[in-house]
Symmetry: C2
Subunit: 299 residues, 2 copies
């Protein structure tokens, strides 16, 4: 029987078409396959965090251009092994998965100096590849350093946005009450109302499904009611601290590359035969940010 799918990702079988038929547009996989090496940037292992769960690894790319002090603290906590043996304490459906120290059952240890909130930063001098599409929440959206970002030309500020896979700092009521010891990952529709309300530190580039498929907490706000329900965090490590044999090398498609513009345009125009109505626009959080593993022989 025919397999019913939502989106055709396979190329047309061009040979089956009459000579007069128009050439079908290249698909996103074809565009990526034809990209040039210089359109990709190698991810710095100093900015990669490995969260080791029983099911495997979740890899986060950190964004020190936006949250330098918080990220320095997170890396210091990882290097002191402070995350090891903690757990995922909260999974709220269509919202966030959250782990780390700081709730009732997992004391954060001795009081640490407070880290100032890093909710936004100056846009001056910041690279920003603007997306031309409109946005509900911000006057301008686009990409900075490979991350989805927003910008306000009136006050000259820029910030990272909450999309699926965004990693940010949980906090209490005070703006500076989060130090990075408790982090959350977005696992639902973009909660863009959190933009400029928490310190965004990066995004998951691989393994987000290890968090999004966890059982939901049945307590208030998706917290687990009992410790037994929690998923252990075996360790959190900075990739640079591991021997090369335990790392994965990644490349990200540069957001100023022609291939990035082409796959983004493909998401707007949806020219393949499955689509009957072209959206014409693309939401910031629906733009693809392609990541690829670098084969060991190419490192």
């Amino acid at each position: 029987m025919r397999r019913l799918v939502l989106a055709a990702v396979m190329a047309f079988a061009g040979a089956a078409w009459a000579d007069a038929a128009p050439t079908p547009p290249p698909t996103a996989p074809e565009l990526l396959a034809a990209s040039k090496p210089q359109e990709w940037r190698r991810l710095d292992p100093e900015n990669l965090l490995y969260v080791e769960l029983p099911s495997g690894r979740v890899t986060i790319e950190l964004a020190p251009a936006f949250a330098p002090r918080t990220i320095a603290n997170i890396k210091a906590l990882a290097r002191k092994r402070e995350f090891d043996g903690l757990s995922v304490v909260r999974v709220q459906d269509n919202y966030v998965a959250q782990w780390g120290a700081g709730d009732e059952a997992q004391p954060a240890g001795p009081a640490r100096p407070r880290i100032p909130a890093e909710f936004d930063r100056s846009a001056a001098g910041l690279p920003f590849d603007r997306l031309r599409d409109p946005d509900v929440y911000a006057p301008q959206v686009g990409f900075s350093g490979g991350f989805r970002a927003a910008r306000d030309p009136v006050n000259g500020r820029a910030w990272l946005t909450h999309c699926y896979g965004t990693v940010a700092v949980a906090r209490g009521t005070d703006a500076d009450s989060g130090d990075g010891s408790q982090l959350y990952v977005v696992i639902g529709h973009a909660p863009r109302h959190l933009d400029r309300n928490t310190t965004v530190v990066g995004r998951v580039i691989e393994g987000v499904d290890r968090l999004s498929s966890l059982p939901r907490g049945t307590g208030s706000l998706g917290f687990y009611k009992t410790p037994a329900e929690r998923t252990p965090i075996r360790s959190i490590r900075v990739a640079a601290d591991l021997p090369e044999s335990e790392r994965t090398a990644f490349e990200a498609l540069r957001t100023d590359a022609p291939t990035f513009a082409a796959i983004t345009e493909d998401r707007r125009s949806r020219l393949d035969a499955w689509y009957k109505s072209a959206p014409g626009r693309v939401d910031l959080c629906n733009v693809a940010l392609p990541i690829r593993r670098v084969p060991p022989t190419d490192r």
Copy 2:
């Protein structure tokens, strides 16, 4: 230790404030608690579908105003027990969970008459409570019959939108190749590019986490590679066909009710003390559509 949370849902302890302090605004739970009975509508059991999984029930409200022929066919299939014993065949992270007949391993049975696509409908005479906020994909968005919807004043058409929990018909390349025997539920960031490309039949009102927390399929497009990985569908039933003791009675807050306007405004303005930056706007898919169970004594 203090519990770090993302959003404060508890009311302020007003008594702890000095007399001169401003009265904190009512929270969404307080607004709902103060709502009037006539602001709620009882859901019609003829429009409720129960999907019974091993983990429990997923309840779908159907939208016959938008997809009358497809929904009639889905109910006919349910009444012929055609879904029973099938399974969830696809779970693609940040996209959809999909079940039913029609893929290679689950033959759809004898060919059925094709159901015309119901991607949109005339907006003439259709109730539409418009949301004043902008939208990336549609000229106008709002609510119709309790569902998130969009409208184009130029061509006079209206359609249901893809948000978290939306239920729609999987199909092949031909617009009329889906008959409702295979359905998908959105379990990630709103894939609004699917709007007007598939027939939306309703939304999950309870139990969507039973789908969103399933293991992701590791095959192409999130299809499971082996039948053993699939989650069985024990049955799909129209609520009206079950004895009252096996049903749950639900009410939905009317989208033209003052309380609905108040909780939507709360999502825009976020006046509680946790928020340091008010979003000022709300995305259609982030507007809450409150549902409550009716206690048996009130039925």
